[in-house]
């Protein structure tokens, strides 16, 4: 579905008040990856790492400085219009709906822009109305919609022409918990039911954990991780945490194969590697246990570690 090889993008920036100097900023440096049909993958990186620049090259908005891109079998910048029929795009900070018109009018206009046949349009609109619960605000002008409502409208707008591939740039930015969940459910559904390939950039690691089986991580324009979330955890965060509640407060436990990270009254946090059973037995032998739990390293921490190590 997507093939990227040696993709780079440089921007020339002129700085200085009197003597203007040319600086070359390498936004994306020599990245390569492949995405198969039906994947749902996350594209992650700190601000300014090159995420949006990559997406813009994949959608035909920007012309690459070097490298080869194929999206749905087409070169995006050369065959932009053909590609536009096959892909949907939603950029969290850009508004593609008509600001002063009722939401439904925007859908009507898009139907004509994309030349969607009337029956297909009716069928998909009926479905999005149900799944995204659009009915209460379908005839409200877009400028009066809440952010959550507007994002649901934008998602519908991006999907009305039944694209094979959906690009989402920060789809859940600024949404509350309920709205976020609704968007995530929707993405899972279109990915499973319609086989739509989804590539999303996000800062929200919750999006990544709930949605994506595969992750691309970019930093300073370079691709620094391409793989599954489980492997990522294994590689960067093999240590887990055992949290024990003792009968009464005690000094930090001395147990082989673990070190105490934190003590708070009767509760202690132990960091360890490997199977938990032996460690638990050893802890139980040295102190009187009331309760225990084991936590996996959270992805947020792992990502922080990746950025630091790159």
């Amino acid at each position: 579905m997507i093939e990227v090889e040696g993709l780079s993008k440089q921007f020339v920036v002129r700085r200085g008040r009197f003597r203007r100097e040319r600086h070359i900023v390498e936004a994306v440096r020599d990245i390569s990856f492949r995405v198969e049909r039906g994947e749902l993958l996350g594209y992650l990186g700190p601000n300014g790492a090159g995420k949006s620049t990559t997406i813009k090259m994949l959608t035909g908005i920007l012309v690459p400085s070097a490298g080869r891109v194929q999206v749905a079998g087409l070169d995006p910048s050369r065959r932009r219009i053909e590609l536009a029929r096959k892909i949907g795009a939603m950029f969290g900070q850009r508004i593609q709906l008509w600001w002063d018109l009722p939401l439904i009018d925007s859908f009507e206009l898009l139907r004509h822009i994309y030349r969607v046949p009337a029956d297909r349009y009716r069928a998909s609109l009926a479905r999005f109305r149900e799944v995204l619960e659009l009915d209460p605000f379908l005839s409200t002008p877009v400028r009066q919609l809440s952010l959550g409502q507007r994002i649901r409208g934008e998602l519908t707008a991006a999907m009305l022409h039944e694209p094979e591939l959906l690009f989402l740039d920060e789809p859940t930015i600024g949404l509350d918990v309920v709205a976020k969940q609704r968007v995530r459910d929707f993405l899972v559904e279109i990915n499973r039911e319609n086989g739509v390939t989804v590539l999303l950039t996000t800062h929200d690691l919750g999006d990544i954990e709930r949605l994506c089986s595969r992750l691309l991580v970019i930093d300073h324009g370079k691709l620094i991780w391409d793989g599954g979330i489980a492997e990522l955890k294994e590689r960067y965060g093999p240590e887990r945490m055992l949290i024990v509640d003792l009968e009464e407060p005690a000094p930090p436990l001395q147990v082989e194969g673990a070190r105490v990270e934190k003590v708070d009254g009767p509760r202690q946090w132990l960091r360890f590697q490997g199977p938990a059973a032996e460690l638990t037995a050893r802890v139980a032998a040295t102190a009187r246990l009331v309760d225990l739990q084991i936590t996996e390293p959270d992805i947020e921490e792992i990502v922080r570690r990746i950025y630091q190590s790159s």
């Binding site: 813009k56 536009a84 593609q96 600001w99 018109l101 004509h112 822009i113």
Partner: protein
Amino acid sequence: MVEPVFLWRRLVGAQIRSQLQYRASFVLDVTGAFLISFIDFVAVLVIFHNVPQLGTWNVHEVALLYAVSSISFALTDLAIGHLDQFPQKVRDGNFDILLVRPRGTLYQVICSDFALRRLGKAAQGGLVLVYALASLHVDWTVGRAALLVVAVPAGTVIFASVWVVGACLAFWTTDGGEFTNAFTYGGTFLAQYPIDIYSAWLRRFLAYVVALAFVCYFPSLYVLGKPDPLGLPRLLDFASPLVALAAALAAGMIWRGAVRHYRSAGG
């Protein structure tokens, strides 16, 4: 061929509907545009109050010239006047949205607004035309009438092409609005007067670089049956439609090249 026109009507219709949501401001805008352009023509009358002729042109002849230029300009302004906000769209990255839709970008930009409020200017041009035709004693022939009818759309296309080329600058400078205005509004202003009153370099610039002399100067000469004070080939009198076509093609090509320099905006 027809479908893009229907879509344009649909999109522009949507824009007009949303403009009419702010009704009071719409009425004020139309009236304001009419009054401002009315004063503009008063300035021409003031000149003729002081001098009987500009070159070989009397006030009625200049009024015809002015009317053709003014109507063409007003139609351009109606259809694509929103190009002056285009640099903003390039700077804040909202041009992105147009690039992910399956239509030409220039077409989408043209469809993105329709400033109905500028109708006031077209109304003024129409009134001046009525005044000019009533006071001139044109010796009407089929050719003259036809040329006058064709001159307005041709002039509109020429103006529009100059504006589009000006807007292309936005892809490099991100904010060259004022420089562009010098050509568009400045050129329009100069085109309202007969070009033979200008010095040679300015005349050549108007005639051959921005092609604005073809908007009204040459067609007016023919309609009035005036000999060209500059003695240029008379074939130029009929060249406006061809010049318009060439200008539109050139502007389209320049636009296509310019879009490849689009850099979007962060975020």
